[in-house]
């Protein structure tokens, strides 16, 4: 009887630790995306499938290509990382975790120039899309998704 109770307690502790670990470690995908209209559009990247219709409706392009990305697993909510392409870089600085998501400071650089800076509370349920500069016939988009 006592062994049985110990076993149940151990299983409970294991389940709780796994659950809390799963909750604590979340991944934020950040991407630099070029949206443009082409005759033969490439398939949309898997990270954008969830918001494909919104992207097409909002920006009016039929192809979305990732030119730079980063996938960061957050443990403390205080990490920072960089998603970069040849000319652009998105610096993400996590400044803490809230009940709904993460507080992030985002900076978009074009080579060494700071084009845009923003502070956001990125929700786990709600992706963030930032419309960047026009690039050729297309548009640079910044996308952040909590996965």
């Amino acid at each position: 009887m006592r062994n049985c109770a110990l076993l149940v307690a151990a299983l409970l502790a294991l389940v709780m630790s796994v659950a809390s670990a799963a909750q604590a470690t979340q991944t934020v995908w950040s991407g630099l995306v070029i949206a443009e209209n082409v005759a033969q559009p490439a398939p949309i990247p898997p990270e954008l499938i969830r918001i494909e219709q919104t992207l097409k409706a909002l920006f009016g392009y039929n192809q979305f290509q990732v030119i730079g990305q980063s996938r960061k697993t957050l443990k403390t909510g205080e990490e920072d990382w960089l998603a970069s392409s040849k000319y652009f870089a998105l610096h993400v600085d996590a400044r803490g975790e809230t009940e709904a998501g993460y507080v992030l400071n985002l900076k978009l650089y074009k080579e060494n120039d700071l084009l845009l800076e923003t502070d956001t509370k990125l929700s786990k349920r709600s992706p963030l899309v930032i419309k960047g500069p026009q690039v050729g016939g297309g548009q640079l988009l910044l996308v952040l998704v909590v996965q």
């Binding site: 502070d119 349920r125 963030l128 899309v129 690039v135 050729g136």
Partner: protein
């Protein structure tokens, strides 16, 4: 001097005796018919006694108790509870209660309206706290933000950034 009806009634009840009884029976035109009527009257009287007699109470103790209680209640000091209860609601108290209720309603309404500010973003959506562009690089840039209803995407819409050549789309 008794009338015939009085003597008849007394004879039926067996209350005549002696000389009076003999004289009365002698005065009867048909004694046999009178006897038959007397017998019938006795039978009827017995039947009525049997059927109309007082019923015995099966719960006489309870009945007595109820009766005593009622007597005590009716003889006790008179009280008028409904009158007392109704007198608490004076016009002044009714007015004050109304004013207090109205004030409470206004306070609740103000609190609810303040909490449900339609412009306020839900905590479960991504919120843009602030955004800025370098005015030296993009002097005409404007910033707006909104959320899409379908898949809850928060959009930071920056207009007027400097356009770049297609080479900048390189990976």
């Amino acid at each position: 001097m008794k009338t015939f009806e009085e003597k008849w009634t007394a004879w039926l009840d067996g209350e005549l005796s002696g000389k009076e009884l003999v004289e009365f029976e002698a005065s009867l035109p048909d004694k046999a018919a009178a006897e038959a009527e007397k017998h019938g009257a006795h039978k009827l009287g017995a039947l009525l006694k049997e059927q109309l007699g007082a019923h015995a109470l099966s719960n006489e103790d309870f009945f007595s108790h109820q009766l005593r209680e009622r007597i005590v209640r009716e003889n006790g000091p008179s009280r008028e509870p409904s009158l007392e209860a109704s007198t608490w609601w004076t016009v002044r108290r009714l007015f004050l209660t109304g004013v207090a209720s109205l004030a409470l309603f206004v306070i609740c309404a103000v609190v609810v309206i303040r909490d449900k500010n339609p412009g306020e973003q839900s905590q479960y959506l991504t919120q843009i706290l602030n955004a800025r562009v370098d005015p030296a690089v993009s002097p005409n840039a404007t910033i707006s933000m909104f959320e899409t209803k379908e898949d809850k995407v928060t959009v930071l819409w920056v207009e007027g950034l400097q356009s770049l050549p297609a080479d900048y789309a390189a990976k």
